[in-house]
């Protein structure tokens, strides 16, 4: 790649172009000031107390739950592709010798210079971080946090172990475990749509909270199916909470949202830890086979 591309007269033209873009975009953003429409959001907010106390969780994992399924897929695919770049799953055509695959080498570690105190405190910190990740996960429906945050915190614990102890990471996650947990996580999320699909025909209908067929909200026409009680209890009751709010007390349940969060957490743990693992330790198919 030659860096001459943006020098000289081309550079000046580019700067002018950037200025035009900047002026155009910023003037239009200024126009937006005071003109923002509320649109659909008041409706969402009205429904929120019947579901998760954490309004954000019900937005992200219920109303827009299918969006988040694909968004989670971005992380999964990101891991798949990053690991592919390192060498997992490079394919060759039978009988055709193309160029040899580009083989990256793993990182060299030098952990001997590390402070003794850091080494001593490494394991407790990792354990506490993992516990914190699980706390964030369990609080998904009631407080800030959720599956994605849990995964990120967990993987930071894993990265910490890598930095402190090199190849002897106390949090010893094997490649197979990570790939499996990532895949299982995404499929838990995907399959949690199934109960709603089978009973009401709507994918990812929240059978636990069951806002629309249980008569919590009056005046809905067109929904033919009613969620059977057993499903409602199975997915709803373990997460039923009493919300004492200024305008009354609501018995609300987040239904499948906390379960989705567990799937999401697994997925993120698998994906991000796998990226860390492969970028630091490298990937070697032969080594994997001998395990």
């Amino acid at each position: 790649m030659d860096s001459k591309g943006l020098k000289g007269s081309r550079g000046i033209i580019a700067v002018i172009a950037l200025m035009i873009i900047f002026v155009g975009v910023s003037t239009s953003l200024l126009q937006l000031n005071g003109n923002v429409a509320r649109g659909i959001s008041p409706e969402y907010n009205e429904l929120a107390p019947y579901e998760a106390p954490n309004n954000l969780a019900s937005w992200v994992y219920d109303y827009r739950g299918f969006d988040t399924l694909i968004e989670t897929g971005v992380i999964y695919v990101g891991a798949l592709v990053s690991v592919l770049a390192i060498g997992r799953g490079i394919v060759r055509v039978k009988g055709v010798e193309g160029d040899a695959p580009v083989a990256p080498s793993s990182m060299e570690f030098n952990v001997s210079t590390l402070n003794v105190i850091l080494k001593y405190f490494g394991v407790p910190v990792i354990i506490l971080l993992v516990a914190y990740a699980l706390l964030v996960l369990t609080g998904a429906a009631t407080s800030g946090g959720g599956g994605f945050q849990c995964g990120v915190i967990f993987s930071s614990a894993y990265l910490l172990g890598m930095i402190f102890y090199g190849r002897k990471n106390p949090l010893n996650l094997s490649k197979k475990f990570l790939i499996a947990i990532g895949g299982v996580g995404w499929s838990i999320y995907a399959l949690l749509g199934l109960p709603g699909y089978l009973t009401t025909g709507y994918w990812q209908y929240n059978v636990g909270a069951d806002l629309w067929t249980s008569g919590v909200i009056p005046g809905v026409d067109g929904m033919a199916a009613v969620v059977p009680d057993i499903l409602r209890q199975l997915f709803g009751d373990p997460f039923r909470l009493l919300l004492v709010m200024s305008d009354g007390t609501y018995a609300s349940t987040a239904g499948i949202v906390p379960l989705i969060n567990i799937g999401e957490a697994f997925n993120v743990i698998g994906a991000i830890c796998l990226i860390f693992l492969v970028f630091v330790y490298g990937w070697n198919d032969e080594e994997e086979k001998s395990r």
């Binding site: 695959p101 749509g193 809905v220």
Partner: protein, 503 residues
Amino acid sequence: MNESISNLWSIPLFIIIPILTAIALNIMYNRKKAISVTAVASSFALVVISALSPFGFHWFTGHPAVLPTGGYTYRADLLGWRLSLEYYYGPLQQIAIFLASLLLLFVVMISIKSLKKNIGPYISLLFLTFMSSAIVIMVNDFYHMWIGVEIGSLIVAGVVLASGEAVSQKAALKYTFFSALSGAGLAIALALILGVTGYSNISDAIKAMPLSNGSLASILYVAFGFTVLSWVYAGGLAPIHPLKADVYGASFPHATVLLQAQSKLMLVAIGLLLLRVFGTLPFAKEVMLSISVLTMMLGVVMAMLQTDFRWTLAYLIVSHSGLVTLGISLGTVQGIIGGLFQAINDVVYMSVLLLACEGVYYFGRGTSIKSVSGIAKRAPWLAIAAILGAFAASGVPPFNGFQSEIILIQASLNYGMPELAIVVLMVSVTTFIALFKGIYNIFLRPDDALNNNEKTGTPVPKILYACLAALIFITVLFGVYPQLAINFLTEAALKVVYIPWVP
């Protein structure tokens, strides 16, 4: 054709089946038998579902629409604000997804046959490619379309990377670099439209668009600009076409079949979105038209210069994307029909050419016109397929390319722009020259190495011939009975023009 259904059974399956298959294949990794059974079965299931499914909507998570008079409804044909994410499966979607799943089935079978070891992640990426194109063509929601484009570009990078060569790594890196730019652009466009209207559902946003408020028009213009940026990126239009051509050229030809299908569907989906949302703004169609014309010409000229058949095809795909967008950006019913029909035909005949190129690749000497020649003697059927594909691509009757190009030419004449018709003609003629330059050198030119009975490479698998035969059958079928496809597309085009709130 009951379109008041808001819980059509087939729509979630188009997304969930590929996801679950991809996860399973990725975990299987190396177990070839299990992989081939799972992959073929689930892609076959997708073909069947897309053929059998009726039309309708699906409101994911099952939240109803809010009636303007208060209260809620589950009927999709009533006017209301959608609370949940909306997908639509209509005639256009049916024909597009049916073709995409058929191609997926072919590509999966070919890649299982021809690739060795560790094919799990690769085939799972092929399934995800299908998934992203299904999302983009069905979705009726800005935010979700953004995610579809985003995950689609990531998957493209993965498919390209899987061939593991330095050139493909470079192509993938460059492509993902721009995905950051255009993904962010589309996100800004989404934020602006969301800010102006408050609805992320496209139909609702169009209904709520404050067109009367002149000061907000500039916001819409900026949103339009950013959406065009992502359109250009996802479809590989000029000026990003060199990157997209690199992507097509650097991946295995059979993977390019799916990649080009995906990008054609993205072009159609985002193009229709642009038309529906911004079509009434002055200059919008003109901007889209000029991009299409530039893409057509630059692509076809670059295709002339290539010496590698893969790269020739790559630039031709880019150039023919311009034909698709030309029809869409005309904005008339006839133009849209032409554009959509061109997209479908393009996917089919380019697949024929790409699979023929894949056959050449198996002879083990690459696909450059300098290094390989005389294939016709060793694989006559491959040569015939390539020649038929070239006829279809350059618009020779009785193949399908002819039918859609004639519609496009008529549409541009009716629009009052005979110049566009000339450009279309030039593109199809030059396509012919560029293709036959490659085909002559690779298939027909006599070869010295052949006389020495030199045996390299691997025999072309039978399944490749079967797929080629099926695809050529489709090209002839659409060429002889274009009404088969046009009946489907007319309904979609009419809706875009006259009833903008239905995709």
